[in-house]
Structure formats: C-alpha cells, structure tokens
C-alpha cells in the first residue's frame, strides 16, 4: 500500500525559476493532474527535441516539481506526475498494487480471511465479507465494498465459493429471497475428474497420437510410467 504522500513543494518560488523548456514540460505534466503522463506521450505532445525534453525532465525532478510513478498497466514505461498530485488508481492499479506490481501476498491474506469467514457448505453475503475483512484488520487501508466484491468473485473463479441466490429458507433464513450469496464449496468431498486421472486425459501429445504412429498407446511413455509396477 503505497499511497505516497509528498509535501507540497513551495511551487511559487521554484516554479518561477524555470527555463522556457522546463516550463513547457512542467505545464504539460501538471495539466494531466493525477493521471500524469507517460514519457512517450509527453514527448509527442510538447514537440521538443528529444535531448532537450530529457534534460528538462531531469532538472524538474531534481527540483522536486515532478516525480516518476510506477504505472501498473505498462511497467517498463516511465510515467511522470506533477508533485502535488497523488497518482490516480488508474495508474497505481488501486489497492491491489504496490509499486505497480500485483500485491499477491496481500491479496492472499485477504482471500484467506474471507474463506475463514464461511465454513464448508455455509453461505455468506457480500456485506458479511465486508464486515469480516474490516474486523480482521488485515488491511491498513479501508477497502471498498466493490473491492471486497472483486476478492469474493475471484474466489468464485478459484472454485472456493459458489454464487447462489437466497431461497429464504434454511441457512438463508436471515437473507432476503433472491439476494446473491456465496456458498463455500466443500472440496474434500469432491471426486477429481475422470479424464484428468488417466494419461491421455492430460497428454500434451494427444493430437499426434495414433494407433500405429510414432506416438502410439502401445509405445507410450506416459503409460509405461503409469503401469510400472
């Protein structure tokens, strides 16, 4: 979580002392506010010689008027923002990103927190998850409902939760009928797939395997290992 905060530079005094070229560059960046601008777009926009632009950028950075921020969309690309703005979440990627990279550890902890909240085959609502995450104090920053929803939805993709609609009875008794809920999937009790349990089912060569070809069930190495008693 790097919501970088800088002291607001004393813009008047420093900004006044800019060269003509620095001024052009500075204004261009500043006009983009919290969105900032990539080096490539900047150069296209201000129409300065490459060398001059680079030099101006360098000195603006030295004067603490602009700074580089990581852009999670395109990590290799330099992205500038005027010092008085905090980069928008469209640049930082929001809560899930730290320095432009996906914060997998943080996400992992949050997911585990959500799962702990619903035991096997039980159900929970989105509001329930929001509350559980808040109580757990896993996150320093407050996560929005939408962000928790993103988390929960990804747990659906992970096949840990299943999206169901409340029927208003049984375990849904306290939940209005028709409301979307999440049910914990009991994985321990599931049989794994049939195809996945035999060599051909997961074989990378299946498309070239023929009864009498070079790759064939008679000579197949995967079978040899499988049947190696």
């Amino acid at each position: 979580m790097s919501q970088l905060k800088r002291k607001r530079p004393d813009s008047n005094s420093v900004a006044d002392s800019l060269t003509e070229h620095e001024r052009v560059v500075y204004d261009a960046i500043r006009s983009k506010q919290e969105m900032g601008i990539s080096q490539r777009d900047l150069k296209r926009e201000i129409n300065l010689l490459d060398k001059l632009a680079s030099k101006s950028l360098k000195s603006l950075q030295d004067k603490n008027l602009v700074r580089l921020v990581p852009n999670f969309q395109s990590k290799g690309m330099k992205h500038y923002i005027a010092a008085e703005f905090n980069p928008s979440t469209e640049i930082t990627g929001g809560a899930w990103y730290t320095d432009g990279s996906l914060d997998s550890d943080f996400i992992g902890v949050l997911k585990a927190t959500c799962l702990k909240f619903v035991p096997n085959l039980k159900v929970a609502t989105l509001e329930g998850f929001v509350e559980a995450v808040k109580k757990s104090r896993v996150s320093q920053v407050e996560l929005s409902k939408k962000q928790i929803e993103e988390l929960v939805e990804s747990l659906v993709c992970d096949n840990e939760l299943m999206k169901v609609k409340s029927t208003g009875i049984g375990e849904f008794a306290s939940i209005p009928v028709g409301k979307v809920c999440y049910k914990r999937i009991d994985k321990g009790n599931r049989v794994s797939g049939t195809m996945a349990s035999i060599p051909c089912g997961v074989c990378p060569q299946i498309s070239i395997c023929t009864p009498d070809g070079i790759v064939s069930p008679k000579t197949c190495v995967y079978y040899n290992t499988w049947l190696d008693f």
């Binding site: 777009d41 999670f72 969309q73 990590k75 899930w96 990279s101 996906l102 997998s104 996400i107 085959l121 159900v123 993103e150 939805e153 990804s154 659906v156 993709c157 992970d158 096949n159 299943m162 999206k163 169901v164 029927t167 009875i169 049984g170 375990e171 849904f172 049910k183 009991d186 009790n189 599931r190 049989v191 794994s192 797939g193 049939t194 195809m195 996945a196 349990s197 035999i198 051909c200 089912g201 997961v202 990378p204 299946i206 498309s207 395997c209 009864p211 064939s216 069930p217 008679k218 197949c220 079978y223 499988w226 049947l227 008693f229």
Partner: protein, 518 residues
C-alpha cells in the same frame, strides 16, 4: 455424425467383437452414412455374400438398422432399402458389464442369466430364450413357466423390449408436416427435424409403439401395430416374419408369438438408470441426506420419463417424497424434517427446484455442473492453476471478455495473462476474437470466450480417443503377456495392469456417457 475418434472407437469395438470383415462393413456405413446394399458392396469391395452376412450380424446385434426412404416428389414409388449404422448402440456394447450389474442387483441371478443370453445374441424370441435356459440347466428340470416368469420380470422393469420394425418407411422431412399445421408449430417441427439426426429419425420410426413395447402378447397383435409391420415381409435379409393374422387370437397364436416376436435389451432404460446414478454421485458431496432424498425422488419419478435426456423430473410433493424415502433401509431413520432440510440443501444451487409446494429434479442443472467439473479438471491438470481460474472466469461469464478484464478478475499480472490464455486457445479450449480500435494507444484488444458447444464436442472426441487408447494398450499388454513365456512374477504385474486399465475404462465410459448420452 460421430466425431473422428468416436468413429474410430466404434470400429474398434466392432472389430474386437465381430472381426475385420464385419468391422469393414460397419466402418463404411459409419463414414459414409446410410447406404444401399449395392453401394455397400461397391464401396467395401467385398463379395455380396460377405456384405450380406456382415449386415445380418450387425442387425442381429442392433448395430445397424434397415430403412426405406420415400424419395421426394415425382418418382415417389421408388423405394430402396438402405442401411444405417447405429453409433450409440455400438458404443453401448462397451458397457454391457454395467447393464448386467444393474440387472443382477435389481432382479437377481435368474434374470441375470436370461439377460446375459439376450446380450450375447442381440435378439431372441421368447421360445429361443426358453430353449436356451432349459438346455443350459441340463439335469435340473426347470419349467418353461418359471422362465417365462423371469422374463416377465425383465419386461416389467423395462430391461428388455420388443425389437424395432425391420424396415420402417421414412417419409421425406417436408412431407412429415401436416399441411394444416399452424405456423408456430410448423417451424417447431421443422426445427425438431433439423436437430434430430437421421439415426434418431430412423430409430424413432422403427420403434414399436409405447403401448406395444413392453407387452408380452396382445389380443390384437395384428391390428395395433399393423401399419408398421406392413413392410416386414419384404425384408428377406432380416429374416423376420411379423405378419400376423386372426389365428393369433387363440392359444395357438400365442405360441406363434413366442416364436416370432423378437426381444432385445432396452439400452434406453439402462442409460436412464446410469444417468440417475451419475446424478446421485454428483450430489454426494452434499451428504447422505441429499443422496437418499434424491435417490427416492428418482425412483418415484422414473416411470414417468419417456426419453433419456429429459431436462426435469415430474413434480413430487414433500409427502410423497417422504413416503418414498422411508421405503428403503437407508431412508427409514430419516425424519420428516431431515428430508425437508436435505431438500433445501439440494436447492442451493438449485439442483432440485421447489415450486407450488412440490419439487422437481433439475436434471439439466446437475448434468451441466458435472460436465463443467469434468472439463475444468482437465484444464487444471493440463494447463495449471492460473489457466483454470481464467477458464472458470470465462466459463461463468458466458460471453466475450477482454484480456485485462480477465487478469483483474483472477488477480493475475496483466502482462502475463495473454500467455496463459493463448495456450488454452491454441489447444481449442478457448475462442478468441481480435478487436481493432483506432485512435487510442492500444490498437488491438483480444477478446476471449468459452465456446461450450465446440469445446464439449472437442472434449468428447478426446474422451473417445482416450478410450480407444486404453483399449489398445490393454490388448497390447495382454498380447505381450501371451507371447513371452513370462516368469510367475510377471503374472502379478499383468493382473494389476489389467485391473488398472479396466477400471479406468469403466470410469472413462461414465465420463463419455456424461457428455454423449446424458
């Protein structure tokens, strides 16, 4: 039309059961579709006698059906007998052990013996069945009456049925439409014809009427189904004679019936039961209560099912479910409340739906879930966790999603996402579309989607391929064992190999049924 490997697997089954000659004729029919005897001889380059004999075998074992197609307008009088391979019935041959297990469990040893004979011979008359049973139990005198009783049990459970008409007449599709039909129903019927395969149409046309299908003898054999039997005598090839006259009304007629009416295993009933069994397996993770309640519901509604692939069961009230539950041992200690709460469990996700105070089984939902599970487990094992998540995200969305959106939903690095998706696309697990956008920085977006229909077909074809490979490998192992005079310890090995391969075959066939028959 069967898929490439479905076809190869079918030919493989026929080869191992009936030899190369019969398989050649069968393969020709499977590949080229229905053919006349003349064309069949021409394409297979076998002698007429060879082809005829092969056809007789295939018809006897319900793998081929003869039919006559009325040619369209104009020279409507010209009728040619054609032969069509029945792909489903051929594949069913690999599941005989499952059918036998069902009969044995439900009706016991006596019925099993009769039924086994029927599977071995494809089609038999009751007289033949009785003769076989008597000769097989030499010494101990067994009354024909008792055998008939046993047969009636099989009939009562719908495990056997009357054979279809030898040569039904198929009118051209456009003539099947009654001219007075309203527009709506007309298009509905047209659609039905379009989605039905020729194999289905022929089988439907040939099938005895529901009233006749499980009837041992009827008073008016000649009247009820007379229309269909009209052409029977024209088929010398099939050698079936089903023209009846008034004589049959008396005792003598009944005896004739026994010698004339052919019976066979009713595959449909077995597939239905296996479908039910698969449904039960799929709710097992919900606990014992759910299993008992669903089993009871299936038992109570089964007789109302008129085809295998029905989407939903007949409705049942809570009371009648409870009544059915306590009929068997496992359910007897369930309280009314427990049944009710199991029904609630089955309702989330809605595998059993409640409406108007009654409950129906949503077969389609159960089968869909099971199919998804199977495909997803392949994706997981073959392409890894990340691919699995992305596949699920797409599969649940059910529409096109852009690369970045998928990355966000699955919390995966954006720049690495296309690689994973691309791999799935390359092996036909995903559909991809390119979207050109002008003006903005990014000039091309990639959109992805799970195309279920195509993918399911692809997966099924791979399953047939895998089934063929299992079978070939097993044959190869046994062959090897025979060739080498192996030391005793290798005998242990072959026993284990056999066990592993055969149980894999049985399980894989369950998966094939899930995608093909259910």
């Amino acid at each position: 039309m069967a898929s490439q490997y479905g076809l190869k697997y079918a030919v493989h089954i026929i080869t191992s059961h009936f030899g190369n000659l019969v398989a050649k004729v069968c393969e020709c029919l499977l590949r080229k579709g229905p053919l006349t005897l003349h064309n069949l001889i021409r394409f297979t380059e076998l002698t007429p006698l060879q082809v005829k004999n092969s056809l007789l075998v295939l018809i006897q074992h319900n793998c081929v059906q003869a039919f006559i197609e009325e040619s369209g307008v104009g020279d409507g009088a010209k009728l040619n007998t054609q032969y069509i391979a029945l792909f489903n019935n051929i594949i069913h041959r690999s599941r005989f052990s499952k059918f036998l297990a069902i009969v044995s469990k439900e009706l016991g040893e006596e019925c099993l013996k009769l039924f086994e004979g029927l599977l071995q011979h494809g089609r038999l008359t009751l007289a033949q069945i009785v003769d076989r049973a008597i000769s097989s139990t030499k010494g101990s005198d067994i009354a024909p009456g008792a055998i008939r009783e046993t047969f009636l049990k099989l009939l009562g459970s719908h495990f056997v049925e009357r054979c279809p008409a030898p040569e039904p007449v198929l009118s051209p599709p456009n003539q099947e439409l009654p001219s007075s039909a309203k527009r709506g129903s007309k298009s509905a019927k047209l659609q039905k014809i379009e989605t039905e395969t020729l194999e289905q149409r022929v089988s439907e046309e040939a099938a005895p009427s529901e009233a006749m299908r499980f009837l041992l003898t009827t008073d008016a054999e000649s009247n009820v189904d007379g229309g269909k039997d009209e052409n029977d005598s024209s088929s010398s090839l099939v050698g079936e004679k089903r023209k009846y006259d008034a004589l049959e009304l008396d005792k003598e007629g009944e005896a004739t019936n026994e010698r004339v009416i052919l019976w066979r295993a009713n595959f449909e009933e077995f597939i239905r039961r296996l479908r039910h069994k698969a449904c039960i397996e799929h709710v097992r993770h919900l606990g014992n209560g759910a299993v008992i309640v669903l089993s009871a519901m299936l038992e109570a509604t089964r007789s109302a099912e008129n085809k295998v692939k029905i989407d939903a069961s007949a409705p049942l009230s809570l009371n009648s479910i409870y009544e059915e539950v306590i009929k068997n041992d496992a359910g007897r200690n369930m309280t009314f409340d427990r049944v009710r709460s199991s029904l609630i469990e089955l309702g989330c996700p809605p595998l059993v739906k409640a409406f108007n105070d009654s409950y129906i089984i949503d077969f389609k939902a159960i089968i869909d879930l099971a199919q998804n599970d199977e495909v997803e487990s392949i994706v997981l094992k073959r392409y890894g966790q990340e691919a699995y998540k992305m596949f699920r995200a797409l599969s649940q969305a059910g529409h096109l999603l852009e690369t970045d959106k998928i990355a966000e939903q699955t919390f995966y690095e954006k720049k690495d996402t296309p690689k994973v998706l691309y791999k799935l696309w390359k092996e036909e697990y995903l559909h991809m579309e390119k979207l050109q956008i002008t003006g903005a920085r990014q000039s091309q977006l990639l959109l992805w989607k799970v195309n279920k229909k195509n993918l399911w077909e692809h997966v099924l074809d791979e399953m047939f391929h895998a089934a063929l490979n299992l079978s070939l490998r097993l044959a190869h192992e046994l062959e090897k064992e025979k060739e080498l005079l192996n030391p005793p310890q290798s005998r242990d090995r072959i026993i284990r190999v056999r066990l592993v391969l055969e149980s894999a075959q049985i399980k894989l066939d369950d998966a094939i049924m899930l995608f093909h028959d259910f």
